[in-house]
């Protein structure tokens, strides 16, 4: 028995040690999803908490019953009742079909409402004007276009605090996923298509963003920073950006779109305000080379 107690104590020590180590490792670092800085991420965090609490209503009895029952009815405990042929009880079955169904029912209502409320395509209601920013996922960097301000940036984006932002997203690359965890997330960036992500920062700060979906060799480098700043600072930054010496025209875009890694943060003056649409149209309609490549392929096969 003492031997068993020792084992249990050792087990508890390991568990506590594990938690302490994790806590120490987290010192001074942000857990982005649980430390939101935007209204969408904030609502998502609350959903996480509510759903977890509802799930725990089932988890605690499962843990307690599993350990308790297994221990009480261990083979060496001859005092425990033994009913080898008892194999059903309608009341008991009813209870554990019933409780999960009720919980899932509650969760379903929450799911339905939150899916609509937090639909990434749905504009955020605000009396302030929405800031429109177009996003193009490239190999392997992020291009941000401000069509109204006629500027563009690479691997960083500035947004105003307390104003809704409409990210209009596409890709000139394999599929990526656009994610700024502290503001809320995330939606796929696909070529030939547009997706939307509506976010709103509630406090100023720098937030990390990344691509969450593998898109080739340089995918791990597809990180960007989001600078959320006050309206005044934001306008100042825009005026400043308009004076950039770099101009984003068709040639500059072609150079930029070629695969490259670890691109520096760059600011451009936007020469072609239809650039975003042009990028999408690249993937529409018939590929001029398609028929030819198919024929040449067959030709090659025959030659062999």
């Amino acid at each position: 028995m003492i031997y068993k107690m020792r084992k249990i104590v050792a087990g508890i020590c390991i568990l506590v040690g594990f938690v302490v180590v994790l806590a120490l490792l987290l010192q001074g670092h942000t857990i982005d999803v649980l430390q939101p800085a935007g209204i969408v991420a904030d609502k998502q965090k609350h959903l996480i908490i509510i759903a977890t609490l509802l799930a725990i209503i089932v988890v605690i009895p499962v843990y307690a019953l599993t350990i308790g029952v297994a221990w009480k009815y261990r083979a060496s405990n001859k005092k425990a009742r033994y009913t080898p042929d008892w194999d059903h009880d309608k009341l008991i079955e009813g209870v554990w079909w019933g409780i999960p169904i009720i919980l899932i029912g509650i969760l379903s209502v929450i799911t339905w409402q939150s899916s609509h409320e937090l639909d990434p395509f749905r504009a955020i209601k605000s009396d302030k004007p929405t800031q429109k920013i177009q996003v193009v996922a490239l190999q392997w960097k992020w291009l941000f276009i401000y069509p109204e301000e006629k500027i563009a940036t690479v691997n960083f984006v500035h947004i105003p605090v307390d104003r809704p932002v409409d990210f209009e997203i596409t890709a000139d690359a394999p599929m990526n996923s656009f994610w700024i965890p502290q503001l809320g997330g995330q939606i796929y960036a696909m070529s030939g298509m547009t997706t939307h992500l509506h976010l709103q920062a509630s406090k100023a700060g720098t937030y990390q963003g990344s691509s969450a979906n593998i898109s080739g060799e340089g995918f791990a480098d597809m990180r960007f920073t989001t600078e959320a700043e006050s309206e005044g600072d934001f306008q100042e930054w825009i005026e400043d950006a308009k004076t950039s010496k770099d101009v984003l025209d068709t040639t500059a875009y072609k150079t930029l779109a070629a695969p490259s890694r670890n691109n520096n943060k760059t600011t451009y003056v936007l020469a072609d305000e239809k650039l975003f649409d042009t990028v999408i149209m690249k993937f529409m309609g018939h590929e001029p080379d398609a028929q030819r490549s198919f024929e040449s392929h067959l030709h090659r096969q025959v030659m062999q």
Partner: protein, 651 residues
């Protein structure tokens, strides 16, 4: 002459070379051993040409365990890379190589480890549990196995000749299309799982028919053991879902090999269609794997609680509910593709609904232990650990079923932690429990319990160490599949803890290897002479261990669910009346068809046209030869059966 295949395909970096050398050495030592022991004929007669599901089952498990070892070393490489590749340090793997490693890891674990263990156990146990002498289509069964094995060979060949894709285990286009992945890697991926997948589909048909048509007289559906029920559910899913995989892979192959545009980003192709299709197979696949594990736990808990399974009818309905629901949840793998609120909410709610029948099963297992006599053997320990870990994964799963939450954790390490939670805690622990439980039935002796317990503790503790940090990392914004990250993010410590976890799991695997060696050495001590080492309840325990080629000498009708248990209670001595037994002859055709399929795959990958033609002609020829062959069975006379049975009883 050799298509795209040139000497360049053999040139690799130092790390791959180490892998190649170990693979070559492994293969050479097996070949050497066979020569030394003069076992070539034995290998050919007893194994390669066999159509006996018991032997096929053993071969499935051997291939799966070999693949498990390779795939675990991939996991260790990933953890090592992510533990050190921070800031200015870029680790020991290039981005491309790292991406190949995780692609290989995922592909092997699902298609060749989990599927292999599953079909292995099904082959070994299902015919016995339904009291049958064989499967419905023994030759097809052998063909299925060899297709699976040759798929594994083709995948491993990619390490020697060429490369494997760097696209992740489901190879989403447009990344997996020629435009972004011009190498042969994706082709290797397509053809190895295409070949193995066709094997799985044929197996699914085979066992579906076996369960529906070959049950012992009197065994109605509601008298089947729960493992058989779970396999029935799983096989229904295989038959419905695998054709989707086959078609999807075929379309991707057409895109890549013949320049078509099913899933390309341009020219009218639609990558979103691929993602829908692959998950229309992929989600049922999860249940294909987990249902048999649930079945195993049902058998294990009842046997080691010395009690009837609680709520049998509800368990059956839970399986049926899961089978149906598993086809209406696939979209939860890509809420982030932007389907719109109504669609997302529907699939989210359907996903949560699956939690109900799954939860019911857990409660019924707990109540099977209630008022029982619980013995803490290793299969039972795996079960307890399964309940505790699977529940954590279940909570994470319910969270991710809410689309608004999923947006924040999708594609992150939170997701990686979740599905490893389900697949290690559920599928792997389940199959380990099954392997330990049925090992004496197959080999005639029990596995060593002490090393089994050590392995169990290492796996359970290592699992928590390896995956709890990943849940937190995901919340910190760490996405999956990163070969490098910034030091300022503060992720390194947690990655190191996860790496330690993997080492503890590897120690567990070490104990399992030791367990096997020790058990073989001490086999005489642990021999099972009764055929019923655990005081079992179902028909497989009513015949000798190891099982004779004909499974059962006599086929007494079944009267109730735990038929063997009640026979033991009533101490019935069955009247023995021996009869002639028809047994299928061994044939190499299944093996040869699979080898031809392997050549076909290799030829497509490297665009070797003549070899393609030859391989197709071979397959057609072999199938025709087999179809026209009338002499496929032999008869074991009643006399011979009697002699074998009485000899067995004396020994």
């Amino acid at each position: 002459m050799l298509g795209k295949l040139t000497l360049d395909a053999f040139k690799h970096g130092p790390i791959v070379t180490v892998g190649q050398i170990s693979m070559v050495l492994g293969a050479l030592s097996v070949v050497g051993l066979l020569f030394y022991l003069k076992r070539w004929k034995w290998l050919w007669r007893e194994w390669i040409t066999t159509v006996d599901p018991k032997k096929i089952g053993v071969m499935y498990i051997v291939v799966a365990l070999v693949m498990l070892l390779r795939s675990l070393s991939d996991a260790a490489m990933m953890r090592a890379q992510q533990a050190i590749s921070v800031g200015s340090n870029h680790g020991f793997l290039s981005s491309d190589h790292f991406q190949q490693v995780f692609t290989a890891h995922g592909t092997m674990m699902i298609f060749f480890v989990a599927m292999g263990l599953m079909f292995g156990l099904i082959n070994l146990i299902v015919p016995l549990q339904i009291g049958a002498r064989d499967v419905a289509f023994p030759f097809l069964n052998a063909t299925s196995f060899w297709l699976y094995a040759m798929g594994a060979v083709l995948l491993n060949l990619s390490l020697m000749v060429g490369e494997i894709g760097a696209t992740g285990w489901l190879a989403y286009p447009p990344l997996s299309e020629l435009a972004y992945s011009p190498g042969v890697g994706v082709d290797y991926w397509i053809w190895s799982i295409q070949i193995a997948g066709i094997g799985s589909l044929l197996s699914g048909v085979n066992f579906l028919v076996t369960i529906l048509k070959l049950r012992r007289a009197g065994m109605t559906l509601m008298k089947m053991p729960m493992f058989v029920w779970s396999v029935l559910g799983s096989m229904v899913l295989v038959v419905v879902a695998f054709p989707i995989l086959t078609a999807t892979l075929a379309m991707l192959a057409l895109d890549r090999s013949l320049g078509m545009h099913f899933f390309t980003a341009n020219a009218g192709g639609n990558p979103m269609m691929y993602i829908n299709l692959i998950w229309a197979w992929g989600h049922p696949e999860v249940y294909i794997l987990i249902l048999p594990a649930f079945g195993i736990f049902s058998e294990v808990v009842a046997t080691f609680s010395k009690k009837r399974l609680f709520g049998y009818a509800y368990m059956v309905w839970a399986i049926i509910a899961i089978v149906f629901l598993s086809f209406v949840v696939w979209l939860h793998h890509f809420f982030t593709m932007g389907a719109g609120a109504n669609v997302n909410a529907f699939f989210g709610i359907m996903t949560m609904v699956i939690a109900v029948p799954t939860g019911i099963k857990v409660f019924n297992w707990i109540f099977t232990m209630y008022r029982g006599r619980v013995q803490f053997t290793t299969p039972m320990l795996w079960f307890l650990s399964f309940v505790l870990t699977f529940t954590i994964g279940g909570v994470a799963g319910v969270l991710m079923a809410v689309p608004a939450i999923d947006f924040q954790v999708h594609n992150s390490l939170f997701l990686v932690a979740h599905f490893h939670n389900m697949i290690i805690g559920g599928v792997v622990f389940g199959y380990f429990a099954g392997l330990t439980y049925w090992f004496p039935k197959i080999f005639g002796f029990k596995l060593n319990e002490r090393f089994g317990r050590y392995a169990f503790w290492c796996w359970s503790v290592g699992f928590l160490l390896a995956f709890i940090p990943l849940y937190i990392l995901g919340m910190m914004g760490a996405t999956r599949r990163l070969d490098h990250y910034d030091a300022s993010l503060g992720w390194q410590g947690l990655f190191i803890v996860a790496g330690v976890g993997v080492m503890v799991i590897l120690a567990g695997v070490g104990f399992q290897v030791l367990q096997l060696i020790v058990s073989i050495m001490q086999r005489d001590k642990n021999r099972d002479k009764t055929g019923d080492p655990w005081d079992g309840r179902t028909l497989e325990w009513s015949t000798a261990s190891p099982v004779p080629v004909y499974n059962f000498a006599t086929l007494d009708p079944v009267t109730e669910r735990d038929v063997f248990w009640s026979q033991k209670q009533q101490k019935q001595a069955a009247k023995i009346q021996y009869e002639d037994i028809h047994i299928p002859r061994n044939t190499p055709i299944g093996f040869l068809i699979a080898v031809s399929a392997l050549l076909f795959g290799f030829a497509v990958i490297w665009e070797i046209v003549w070899l393609n033609v030859v391989a197709v002609l071979c397959i057609i020829g072999l199938v025709m030869y087999r179809t026209l062959d009338d002499n496929t069975e032999y008869v074991l006379t009643a006399q011979e059966v009697k002699a074998l049975e009485t000899k067995g009883a004396k020994a």
